[in-house]
C-alpha cells in the first residue's frame, strides 16, 4: 500500500512485520507505553484497580529515573469491557501512538482479541491476570498465574485436607470450563470424585437451583470459578440453605480482597481462595507496595493479586529493557529469560520460553476483617507450565 502518515507521527510502512518496531520513538528523553483497561462497562469494577496499580508503578519508576534514563509517558485507553474495543484500542496504541509496550487486559476474551494485533504488529503486551493457560505467545508476557500455579495447587490443598467429593460451580465462559476440565482430570488421577459440575450464565443471579443440586450432591468441598456478581448471589444462597465452611468449604479462584466487601464478609468468612498474592503477605517489598498504594489511593483501599501482578509487570518490562539495553521488541524478547524482580508476592522470575513467570501458590482464608490470610503455601515458586506438560494426568487435555 501507499505510504501514509497519521496525524502526529512520521514515517511510513510497507509491510506489517517491522511496522511497530520502526514506529516507536526513542529519540527523546521519554518513551511511550500504553495502559489498556476497561474503565467503563461491566469489567470496570475490576480493571480500574489494575489501572491504579499500573499508574502507581509508572509513577515510581519515573520518580526513580525512568527506564534507560527515559521517562515513561503513559497513553491510557479504555477497553470498555468489549473485546472488539480492546482489539481496536490495542491497534491504536501500537500503530498510531507507537507505544513501546502495552499493559492491560483482564478477561480471556479481551486477551484473545488483542493477541492477533500484537502478533501481526510484532508488539508487546503484558497481561496481569490469572487465566486458563493453554497459550504462549511470543508477544505476550503473562504475569498472572497459569493453571498449574493456581488451580492445581488448589486441588492439591483439598486433597491434603482429605476431601473426596468435590462439586464444581463456575460461570459459563472459557476460564471455568477449562479449569474444570483440568480439575476433572486431576480428580480422576487422585481418587477424588466430582459430584457435580454446574455453570451459570455470566451475571446470573439466582442460585437456588444450583445450590439445591450442590446440597443434594453430598459434596464435601466446592471448587468455585464463578465470576463477579454471581459470587454474591451464590454465597448468600449457600449460607441461606444452611451450608457452612466446616462441612463444605468453598475454594474460590476469582475472589480477591476487592470483592470480599461486595459479597459481605459475613457471608464468606472462613472460605478459601487460591492466589499467588494477598495484601497480608509478609515481605518488605509488599509492605512498601501496600503503603505506597494506600498513600496514593486512600487508606480504605486494598491490594489484590491482579493488581500486584500488574504492578510487577511494569517492573519486569523495565528489567527486560534494561537487560536488553533497548526498547526494541526483538531485543526485549531475547533478554526476557531469567529476568527477576523482588515483587510484593516474593521473587518472581520470567520464563523465557513460555513468557510466564514462576510464582508461589498460596491458599488463603478470608478473615473477619475482609482480608485474606495465607493458610497454606507451595514449598517454592512453581515454574509456569501453561500446557501442563509436566503432569502425567493432564495428558490429552490439550
Amino acid at each position: 500500500g501507499g505510504a501514509r502518515t497519521d496525524a502526529g507521527s512520521s514515517g511510513g510502512s510497507t509491510s506489517s512485520g517491522d511496522a511497530a518496531a520502526s514506529c516507536v520513538d526513542t529519540s527523546g528523553d521519554s518513551v511511550k507505553i500504553g495502559f489498556l483497561n476497561s474503565l467503563s462497562g461491566t469489567m470496570a469494577i475490576s480493571e480500574q484497580t489494575v489501572r491504579d496499580a499500573l499508574d502507581l508503578a509508572a509513577e515510581e519508576i519515573n520518580a526513580d529515573g525512568g527506564v534507560l534514563g527515559k521517562q515513561l509517558e503513559v497513553v491510557g485507553e479504555d477497553g470498555a469491557s468489549e473485546p472488539t474495543v480492546f482489539a481496536e484500542k490495542a491497534e491504536k496504541l501500537v500503530s498510531s501512538d507507537c507505544v513501546a509496550a502495552v499493559f492491560g487486559g483482564w478477561t480471556s476474551s479481551s486477551r484473545k482479541a488483542m493477541l492477533p494485533v500484537f502478533e501481526s504488529k510484532d508488539a508487546l503486551l503484558f497481561y496481569p491476570v490469572q487465566y486458563e493457560g493453554l497459550e504462549a505467545s511470543p508477544n505476550i508476557f503473562y504475569t498472572g498465574a497459569t493453571t498449574n500455579q493456581q488451580i492445581v495447587p488448589g486441588m492439591d490443598y483439598l486433597k491434603e485436607q482429605g476431601k473426596t467429593k468435590v462439586f464444581l460451580v463456575g460461570s459459563d465462559y472459557v476460564f471455568p470450563r477449562t479449569a474444570n476440565k483440568i480439575i476433572n482430570a486431576y480428580a480422576e488421577a487422585n481418587g477424588i470424585e466430582i459430584v457435580g459440575e454446574e455453570y451459570a450464565p455470566l451475571g446470573h443471579t439466582d442460585f437456588s437451583t444450583i445450590v439445591n443440586k450442590l446440597k443434594a450432591s453430598g459434596a464435601d468441598a466446592v471448587f468455585n470459578t464463578l465470576n463477579g456478581d454471581s459470587n454474591v448471589a451464590f454465597f448468600k444462597e449457600y449460607k441461606n440453605v444452611g451450608l457452612g465452611v466446616d462441612t463444605t468449604p468453598v475454594v474460590s479462584v476469582s475472589i480477591a480482597e476487592e470483592e470480599v466487601g461486595g459479597i459481605g464478609v459475613e457471608n464468606i468468612e472462613g472460605q478459601l481462595t487460591a492466589w499467588n498474592y494477598y495484601q497480608t503477605v509478609e515481605s518488605p517489598a509488599n509492605t512498601t507496595f501496600v503503603e505506597a498504594f494506600k498513600a496514593k489511593y486512600g487508606e480504605d483501599r486494598v491490594t489484590s493479586d491482579p493488581m500486584e501482578a500488574a504492578y510487577t509487570s511494569l517492573y519486569l518490562w523495565k528489567g527486560m529493557v534494561e537487560k536488553a539495553e533497548s526498547f526494541d521488541v526483538a531485543a526485549v524478547q531475547d533478554a526476557a529469560d531469567g529476568v527477576t524482580f523482588e515483587a510484593p508476592e516474593g521473587t518472581v522470575t520470567v520464563n523465557g520460553e513460555n513468557h510466564h513467570i514462576a510464582k508461589t501458590a498460596l491458599i488463603g482464608k478470608i478473615g473477619a476483617d475482609g482480608l485474606i490470610y495465607t493458610e497454606w503455601s507451595s514449598d517454592e515458586a512453581i515454574e509456569p507450565d501453561p500446557f501442563l506438560e509436566g503432569y502425567d494426568w493432564a495428558e490429552g487435555l490439550s
Binding site: G1, R4, T5, D6, A7, S13, T14, S15, S16, L39, S40, E77, D78, A80, S81, E82, P83, T84, A87, E88, E91, K92, S95, S96, T107, S108, S109, K112, A113, L115, P116, V117, S120, L134, D172, Y173, V174, R177, T178, Y199, P201, L202, S398
Partner: protein
C-alpha cells in the same frame, strides 16, 4: 408541511417530479462515492481507515433497521442476532480456511474434543459461506417473522421479544464453548478468502468492499422505500388491519422488510469479522443490539441516509470521545439518546428539512425522498399526534 404546500411543490403529476430530484440523488451518491472511495483512503492512516471500515459495517445494520423500524414500525431490539449470525458464519469459514483442508481450528483443539462438528463442515466452502451469510439470517428472520407477525404480535411485544431473542442467542453462544469459542468468540484470523489479513493493501481492499456494500445497501433501500412496497410498508405500520382488508397479507409485507434488515445485518457482521478480527457474544447481545439503534434514532429513523450518517457519527464519536473521557462517554451517549429521541424524534435528519429550505439550490447530500414529507419523516405516529405534540406557536 401543509398538504397544499406539498401539492404545490410536487406540481401534481407524480410521474414528472422525478427528473430534478433524481439528479439530486445521483449527485448525492456521487459525492458519497467520492468521499468514501477517493478522499477517505487518501487522507486516513491504515488504522483510521480500518476504523472507518468497521463503522461502515455497523452502518449496514443501521440501514436495515431504518427500513424495518423507521418504515415498517418494527422496533427490532435483536439485530445483534443477525449481525452475529453473519459474523459467526464468516468467522467459522475463516477459521476453517486458516486450518487448511481437513484441519481443525485452534480453539477446538484447546476447548473441544479436537474434531470439527458436522454442521461446521459445509462452511469450508467459500461459496456456501457467502450464500449462508445472507440466507441464514433471512431464514431465521422469516421464520420468526412469520411466527410472530401472522399472530399479530407487534409494537412493544415485538420489541421485547426480539430483545429476548438477542439475550438468548448470546447466552447460547457463550454456553457452547466447544463449537463457538464461548465468551472468547472467534478470532485470530490470518487470511480472508486467500488474502493475507496482515497486509495493509488487503485491509484497504476490505475497506473498499465495506464502503461499496454500504452504498449498495443504501441504493437498495432507496429503491424499496420509493417502490409501492415502501408505501405498503408504511400502510402496514399505520393500519395493519386495514391493509388486510385490501387483500394483502400484512405479515408477508413485514416479513420482507424484516428479512431484508436481517440480511443487511448479516452482511454487516460478516464483513465486520475480517475487518475487526474478532466476533464474540459481546457483539451480539442486548446491549450491542440497542447500540445499533442509537445511530438510527439519532440520524433519523425514517429517512434514507439518516441511519447511515447517524451510525457513522455515533461510532466515530464513541471512538474518539471515549479515547479522551472514558466514563464521560457513557453520560454523553445516554444524554444523546435522551435528547434526540425525546426532543427531536425525526432525528438529525429532521433538522435537514429546515436547512434544506435555506440551502435550496445546492446539491443535496442527505437526500430525503420526496415521498417522505417532513411529517412522515417523524415518528410513526398518527398525524393528530404529530401535530399536537409538534410546534404550536
Amino acid at each position: 408541511m401543509s398538504p397544499a404546500g406539498t401539492a404545490e411543490r410536487r406540481g401534481g403529476a407524480v410521474g414528472r417530479l422525478l427528473t430534478g430530484e433524481r439528479v439530486r440523488t445521483l449527485a448525492g451518491f456521487a459525492v458519497a462515492a467520492v468521499a468514501l472511495f477517493g478522499v477517505a483512503p487518501a487522507l486516513l492512516s491504515d488504522f483510521r481507515l480500518g476504523l472507518l471500515a468497521k463503522f461502515c459495517c455497523l452502518a449496514m445494520v443501521a440501514v436495515g433497521i431504518g427500513l424495518a423500524w423507521g418504515r415498517g414500525g418494527m422496533l427490532t431490539l435483536g439485530q445483534g442476532v443477525y449481525f452475529g449470525l453473519g459474523g459467526y458464519l464468516m468467522a467459522m469459514h475463516l477459521k476453517l480456511a486458516d486450518a487448511g483442508p481437513g484441519g481443525v481450528p485452534d480453539f477446538m483443539l484447546l476447548y473441544g474434543d479436537g474434531t470439527v462438528p458436522g454442521w461446521w463442515e459445509p462452511l469450508r466452502s467459500p461459496v456456501v459461506t457467502v450464500v449462508a451469510i445472507v440466507l441464514v439470517p433471512v431464514a431465521l428472520a422469516s421464520a420468526l417473522g412469520f411466527a410472530v407477525f401472522t399472530r399479530r404480535v407487534r409494537g412493544a411485544y415485538f420489541a421485547i421479544l426480539s430483545q429476548a431473542l438477542a439475550a438468548a442467542f448470546a447466552i447460547l453462544l457463550v454456553g457452547q464453548q466447544k463449537v463457538t469459542g464461548g465468551t472468547n468468540g472467534l478470532n485470530g484470523f490470518r487470511s480472508f478468502f486467500g488474502y493475507d489479513l496482515a497486509d495493509p493493501v488487503n485491509k484497504e481492499m476490505l475497506y473498499l468492499i465495506a464502503a461499496g456494500t454500504l452504498l449498495a445497501m443504501v441504493a437498495i433501500v432507496r429503491l424499496l422505500m420509493r417502490s409501492r412496497f415502501g408505501e405498503l410498508l408504511v400502510a402496514v405500520r399505520d393500519q395493519e388491519n386495514r391493509v388486510r382488508f385490501l387483500g394483502y397479507d400484512p405479515a408477508a409485507v413485514k416479513v420482507v422488510a424484516y428479512a431484508v434488515a436481517a440480511a443487511f445485518a448479516g452482511i454487516g457482521g460478516a464483513l465486520f469479522v475480517p475487518i475487526v478480527g474478532i466476533i464474540s457474544p459481546a457483539d451480539v447481545g442486548v446491549v450491542p443490539s440497542i447500540g445499533f439503534l442509537v445511530g438510527v434514532a439519532i440520524g433519523g429513523r425514517a429517512t434514507l441516509l439518516g441511519p447511515v450518517l447517524g451510525a457513522l457519527a455515533v461510532s466515530w464519536a464513541q471512538t474518539s470521545l471515549s479515547e479522551q473521557f472514558p466514563s464521560f462517554w457513557t453520560y454523553f451517549q445516554g444524554a444523546l439518546f435522551i435528547v434526540v429521541v425525546a426532543f427531536l424524534p425525526g432525528g438529525l435528519a429532521s433538522l435537514g428539512g429546515v436547512r434544506r429550505r435555506w440551502r435550496a439550490g445546492r446539491a443535496e447530500r442527505d437526500d430525503v425522498p420526496d415521498e417522505v414529507p417532513a411529517r412522515a419523516a417523524q415518528a410513526p405516529t398518527t398525524p393528530s399526534e404529530t401535530v399536537t405534540s409538534g410546534s404550536t406557536p
